[in-house]
């Protein structure tokens, strides 16, 4: 049973979809009180490799948390950090680093830490609550047949960073830093917040993997998707790496931790989106479209042959 089965089977019945709540979305939205909220838990060795760089881990999990709010077209305003760990995790040296990281992220994303909780535990775990205020959000599961599918930024850099940190790949120091930074401090598409709801019919952030999150985006709908692998945007660094090391693009673009925004929009918005992208220097790439009918999703390779994926992303299998 994975976490989604658990939530679907046992917990989605708990709130009866009252007052615009929807446990199938990644955020909680209470329209009458204009509250948008997200909760996430991060465990050492699962969501981050280790705590050798507490400053970077904190930045990563804060960005990952506010990304849930940002991808709904809402400004995150407050975050709350619950930390459980031992005295090594929370040494004075580490606390100073954590404090400075939080300060940096507060200033970059104009958020404030509203509170938190610190408890003693053998294992290191963070739970972050992020919230913002808005009378509307871009939902999941609201795309229409023939909507285009878009993704912001580049995909896959974060995963290369993880491979480097795990010594599964070796490359020269400078380029290595680029990828490791992408892993720890992904660029959240903060600028897009203002505009997203004016063109997107549905949205999600890419945390578990492009295809895993695409499946969630159309979950509970009678929809599938068609994606062309060659359209999926990757950085010049990753393009070069793939060429030099004779790797396969498909092995890098659905591993998660990208924190880019995946969204759908009607054909009629294509021009608006492309103009916006150019004007604001935000890479926004059309990667496919929504099809009618369930379980008919197609991923095409460079030669337009269909690819079948063994694993679409990261799941918490219990």
């Amino acid at each position: 049973m994975n976490e989604f089965d658990i939530i679907n089977k046992y917990f989605s019945k708990l709130n009866n979809n009252k007052s615009s709540l929807n446990l199938n979305d990644d955020v909680f939205f209470d329209k009458s009180n204009k509250l948008v909220l997200s909760v996430d838990t991060y465990v050492e060795k699962i969501h981050f490799l280790n705590f050798k760089k507490p400053d970077l881990v904190i930045r990563k999990i804060i960005r990952s948390s506010i990304s849930d709010i940002v991808c709904k077209g809402v400004n995150p305003k407050f975050i709350f950090i619950c930390a459980s760990g031992n005295k090594k995790h929370f040494s004075k040296k580490n606390l100073k680093k954590i404090y400075n990281s939080i300060k940096k992220e507060q200033s970059t994303y104009k958020i404030l830490v509203g509170g938190g909780d610190t408890v003693k535990s053998k294992n290191l775990t963070f739970s972050i609550t992020s919230l913002g205020y808005s009378n509307k959000i871009v939902f999941r599961n609201k795309s229409n047949v023939n909507d285009d599918i878009y993704v912001t930024g580049n995909i896959g850099d974060s995963y290369v960073g993880l491979c480097l940190l795990k010594n599964k790949l070796k490359i020269n120091k400078n380029i290595s830093n680029y990828f490791v930074n992408s892993y720890y401090t992904p660029d959240i598409q903060f600028k897009l917040i203002k505009k997203l709801s004016s063109f997107a019919s549905s949205s999600i952030d890419i945390s578990d993997g492009l295809f895993a999150d695409l499946d969630k985006l159309i979950n509970n709908q009678n929809h599938s998707y068609k994606i062309s692998l060659r359209n999926i945007p990757i950085s010049n660094f990753l393009m070069k790496l793939i060429a030099i090391k004779k790797l396969k693009k498909i092995d890098f673009i659905s591993k998660g931790d990208d924190y880019q925004i995946l969204f759908t929009a009607p054909k009629s918005k294509e021009k608006v989106i492309s103009n916006y992208s150019v004007k604001n220097k935000i890479r926004i790439t059309k990667i496919g479209k929504i099809l009618k009918g369930k379980d008919r999703s197609i991923i095409l390779d460079d030669s337009r042959r269909q690819i079948f994926l063994k694993n679409k992303g990261y799941f918490h299998n219990f």
Copy 2:
């Protein structure tokens, strides 16, 4: 360094007390958006003994979480549960029990689960976010000199329950059940929400221990307190237990997990409070008063001699 030192030293500077936030309070209050929010983390072996009774553990941590909101005179409305654990913790059998417990608590306290997160981890940890909407709260650290100090309900039953679960005490089954229930399902003073702000000058819930929480209640003020041990309300069961086993009351009334409300009120409200208590059948007991000056707190025993406590309650020492 304990958790309060950590928060004070490193994190209280993060939000500069903007927009009515106060990291020294147990809740976050954003007055302009009428939001009252609390986050808490619960770790197995620290906040609860074990997970042999998942149904009761869940009820305990939900009550403990909403207690933070209730003691501020605010109705809790939504909770969010982040759970990390392994497949034994989240077996189908346990999930059913957890689901049923949540349903019960939802109905008892008129709250809804708005979302959550489940992740895989060796250790069992829950983080709960509780929230309600209100344009005012009863703050901490707002008592005045000569204010009376009150406590709701009975103190100490929960700790006896914990001692029984740990086999540190042995008594007959029926009375044992009473105490164990007090440990797992403490009575939250839900009824008092409506009235609390009309008489209380400051309030806190008792989670870490009566005296530890009293210290927090007057933290950052130039105040002390005088408490008479004989006035601290205990149940008839605990009174009997103390008599039969020749125990000391002082050893039971500052151990925490009571989730009763500790509050201060001006002398002028004494009659109102006592009438309210009688009319609504909510035990509210005056246990002492606020004194002028720092570090002059006095606890008097039955013979009105001063007692000095070695340990005022539970702290997370790192």
